[in-house]
């Protein structure tokens, strides 16, 4: 019996296997040239071919050396299933196929003492999506007529900023009219979807720019006041000095990356930013800080962030002299003051079993400094995180959003700190439906990230396809700073796709508001929802339908 090396990594251990047809292959080399992971290579195979050229059978064995494309079997160069080879092959001769019997997670750890994946998406979507079990089930008919999505007008904006209860607004009645006696916290009315916080660094500069272009186009040409959150990592100084800054929500996280440039640019700003978002936590890696691996810290990233080429880690929490609370409080006050109380300052946290306590604390804060509570659920994505963190920590956003809303209702404080939710919204392709259900459950707005990448051409999914966001080798130029890969991205096309998607979303919102007879967003109108799952209905306090 032959001996084999069972402990060696083999092709059947890998999550993706190459399905290659050498009969169709012309050895043009495009697949090898385009695979950023070096997971395939050109090679040769020995072939035995029996031929017979006599009048009577006279088989002869011919041995040929055939050039082929083959899969690299190596932990560092494993196929990620991105399918770029298939995209570029002119003869459909090659494609990756999922290996259901893979053992990569075990083998990889066994060989390298490290998880096989850092970043991307959560790949344990075993539970099914809650939002898909909810329908908009309260339809206006007869005496309470539906509206007409084409003909009627709809008001679809969401507040960003601290909203005071009416008795706290310093109104004075003068000649039968209300007048504001003094300034109060700023509130901006924006489109109820914010393009989610992904930094230059996590994204390629072209991808980031494409989102910024789409944002500006949606605002200036379409009239949708959509806002983009910069992510932690600063933004180009040219943009800081431009009028387009008004569409940007500047993010600050525990690493404070990029803030040096922002603060220096303040005297030259011609517009205020749309808001400041202080990131405390992220749904995809709660309790973990940010991470930009050095392979993605290209020269322009070093420039914007003012850092050397090294792994850039944002600590898990904001550092303060006395306590985290103190440092966050100071941050809020500083940013409110820095922009002379004209710019709303909001906070982003990872959904957690403790979210309600955090929200309650903020609601009861007498200084009214928090202008938005951004709740990010487990199904969000991340440029880089430990696999264990990504796949096994976190909390779904839906029930927690509902809990926070109901906690505010319990105190009669609903709406005072606008709730914005995210984490896997639009995963099945329809952001409008997901967002609308979240509004009805109590969200003022939602934010979205992964979907934007998807629109740009991200080939990854939540079942382990690609997910190489941390490697700097994104095959479609979205999450990489490698100039060759980045070049693959067509900025204008990406911007166009994002714009088109939001035109569709905007129309689909109307198609949801019309049948429930609402001309403004039904925030907290959970009576419009039913769930076909009893446990979901009970948990979210909505009607069960079967």
């Amino acid at each position: 019996m032959a001996t084999i090396k069972v402990n060696k990594l083999s092709r059947d251990d890998l999550p993706w296997q190459l399905d290659y047809n050498s009969d169709r292959c012309t050895m043009c080399g495009r697949c090898v040239a385009s695979c950023p992971f070096n997971a395939i290579e050109a090679g040769v195979e020995k072939r035995r071919k029996i031929t017979s050229s006599d009048v009577t059978p006279n088989p002869k064995a011919n041995f040929l050396t055939v050039p082929i494309i083959k899969q690299v079997v190596d932990c560092a160069y494993s196929c990620r299933g991105c399918g770029i080879c298939e995209k570029v092959c002119p003869n459909t001769a090659i494609k990756p196929v999922r290996n259901e019997d893979e053992r990569f997670a075990i083998k990889y750890r066994g060989i390298l003492a490290d998880p096989y994946k850092r970043g991307g998406r959560s790949n344990l979507n075993t539970e099914g999506r809650t939002l898909d079990k909810i329908k908009i089930g309260r339809i206006s008919q007869m005496t309470d007529p539906s509206l007409d999505a084409q003909r009627h007008t709809f008001d679809m904006l969401a507040p960003l900023g601290r909203i005071l209860p009416p008795e706290q607004i310093p109104f004075e009645v003068q000649d039968g009219e209300l007048k504001l006696a003094k300034k109060i916290p700023p509130v901006r009315w924006v489109y109820p979807i914010i393009l989610g916080d992904m930094s230059i660094g996590a994204l390629s500069w072209r991808m980031w720019e494409a989102i910024a272009i789409a944002t500006a186009y949606l605002n200036q040409e379409i009239g949708l006041p959509i806002r983009m959150c910069t992510g932690e990592g600063g933004i180009p100084v040219r943009l800081l000095r431009s009028e387009h800054l008004k569409y940007m929500i500047l993010q600050i996280a525990s690493g404070h990356f990029g803030w040096n440039r922002i603060i220096n640019a303040m005297p030259e700003m011609v517009e205020d930013p749309a808001g400041i978002l202080i990131k405390i936590g992220q749904g995809a890696k709660p309790g973990d800080g940010g991470l930009l691996q050095s392979k993605k810290v290209a020269r322009h990233i070093q420039e914007i962030r003012g850092v050397p080429k090294a792994d850039l880690l944002s600590p898990p929490n904001h550092q303060g002299l006395y306590s985290i609370e103190e440092s966050v409080q100071k941050m809020f006050l500083s940013f409110n003051a820095a922009f002379k109380f004209r710019v709303p300052v909001a906070i982003k946290v990872a959904a957690s079993a403790t979210s309600v306590s955090v929200y309650n604390n903020l609601l009861r804060d007498p200084y009214n400094i928090v202008g938005g509570f951004f709740l990010d659920g487990i199904s969000g994505g991340t440029g880089a995180a430990h696999e264990i963190s990504l796949d096994h920590t976190g909390h779904p956003a839906v029930s927690k959003l509902r809990d926070c809303y109901l906690a505010a209702v319990h105190q009669g404080k609903q709406g005072q700190i606008p709730l914005w939710a995210a984490g896997g919204l639009g995963m099945t392709g329809n952001l409008a439906a997901d967002a609308f259900k979240m509004y009805s459950l109590g969200a003022n707005g939602v934010f979205t990230g992964k979907l934007i990448l998807q629109l740009a051409g991200c080939v990854g999914n939540d079942s382990g396809k690609c997910n190489a966001c941390n490697t700097g080798l994104c095959p479609v130029g979205i999450c990489t700073q490698n100039p060759v890969l980045v070049k693959r991205l067509d900025i204008d096309k990406v911007a166009e796709n994002i714009v088109n998607y939001f035109l569709a979303v905007n129309h689909e919102f109307k198609k949801l508001m019309a049948p429930i007879g609402n001309s403004s967003l039904p925030v907290g109108r959970s009576d419009a929802l039913v769930s076909v799952d009893k446990s979901v209905a009970d948990r979210l306090k909505i009607q069960y339908a079967c």
Binding site: D155, P165, P166, E177, P522, R525
Partner: protein, 368 residues
């Protein structure tokens, strides 16, 4: 569906006018009841304008319970009136054993009390009465307020009129303001408290509509004031918002419309009072209404108004003569009670308008 109607006059008007106003609109409602609030009372109540009048429909036990509570607080009854009832087997009505209209003297300890203190006492007392009677299912307490009586009953409005002898005009039971409605059930159940007009602390509201933001309104209002209770009908929210804007926040009436049907952002953007309107829109987002609605309201000072939802999905018309103004869902009703008016002066308010009638019967059209 509801039909609503209101009459405001210089002269005292008998409730038969209100029945007449509503009868010709009956194809639009379901004839399941009759409810009315009379304010600025004439007849037998005319001499008691400053004293609170209790309007209640109850059982024997209810009467006793209420009297005990009122006595304990220190109220002293100065006048009592019950309508003569005319039961007949052919009448469609589900009468209560007693209909009580009693006028009380304030407790002695309130001799030097301020108006606000007295109002507070009246609201607290009504809520207590309602709660205690509800506990033992002994009846319904509709209003306890000076110069106001309320009658609500389940049945055919025509028959209810006959039962209480309301078709026959007289000078004993009259008022200068009468608001009425002929539907007693909600979409869910037949509950006397669910019948408009709703009344709280001098404010009266009746609505023809469906408030699709009921849940939002209710969740918010529950925490705002102890009097915001019941919510048996989604239209009660309109009363509570009016009370909140006027009585609690003390804002001018025009901001009621800005609260319940705020202007779209596009329009606010071009207004001088943009900052104020945006603050209201943000702060009172949960008082916004949606769905098809027409509202008629009366303020404690007798001012009457009407306004609609932001798409004007329900009808309303205002008709006037020199001494009477009527606001109602359909013009047929006004044709019945004001047949000789100049119909060219009729007002069909639009979605951004409030029609306001003051005590001199001056009609103002406020544009939002």
């Amino acid at each position: 569906m509801c039909r609503i109607g209101a009459i405001k006059s210089n002269e005292y008007v008998h409730p038969s006018k209100a029945l007449l106003l509503m009868r010709s609109q009956q194809k639009g409602h379901d004839n399941s009841g009759f409810a009315m609030v009379m304010q600025d009372l004439g007849g037998i109540f005319e001499n008691y304008k400053d004293l609170p009048t209790l309007s209640m429909a109850c059982t024997d036990e209810g009467i006793k319970l209420a009297e005990d509570i009122l006595h304990k607080i220190g109220f002293i009854r100065v006048m009592q009136w019950s309508p003569d009832v005319h039961p007949a087997p052919e009448l469609t009505i589900e009468p209560m054993p007693h209909y009580v209209f009693e006028v009380f003297q304030y407790p002695k300890s309130y001799k030097h009390a301020t108006k606000e203190e007295k109002e507070e006492l009246l609201v607290n007392t009504r809520l207590k009465l309602r709660k205690e009677l509800e506990k033992v299912e002994a009846g319904f307490v509709y209003s306890f307020w000076p110069d106001v009586v309320t009658l609500k009953e389940i049945g055919d409005p025509q028959d209810i009129g006959t039962y209480f002898n309301l078709w026959e005009e007289n000078n004993d039971f009259t008022a200068k303001i009468i608001t009425a409605q002929c539907r007693q059930n909600t979409n869910y159940d037949i509950v006397r408290y669910a019948a408009h007009p709703f009344f709280l602390q001098g404010y009266t509201v009746l609505v023809n509509g469906e408030n699709t933001f009921y849940e939002k309104n209710k969740n918010f209002q529950k925490k705002l004031h102890k009097g915001y209770i019941g919510f048996e009908s989604d239209s009660q929210c309109f009363l509570y918002s009016l009370h909140y804007i006027k009585n609690v926040l003390k804002w001018p009436l025009i901001y009621y419309k800005h609260t319940i049907t705020p202007l779209p952002f596009d329009e606010i953007e071009h207004r001088d009072d943009k900052e104020i309107l945006l603050k209201i829109k943000a702060s009172l987002a949960h008082l916004e209404i949606n769905g098809p609605n027409t509202i008629i309201g009366v303020l404690p000072d007798g001012t009457m108004y009407t306004c609609c939802d932001s798409k004007k999905l329900r009808p309303v018309v205002v008709g006037q003569t020199d001494d009477t103004i009527s606001i109602t869902s359909e013009v047929t009703g006004i044709n019945e009670i004001l047949p000789d008016r100049d119909w060219e002066k009729d007002i069909y308010p639009h979605e951004r308008e409030m029609v306001v009638v003051n005590n001199d019967l001056k009609v103002e059209r406020w544009q939002q």
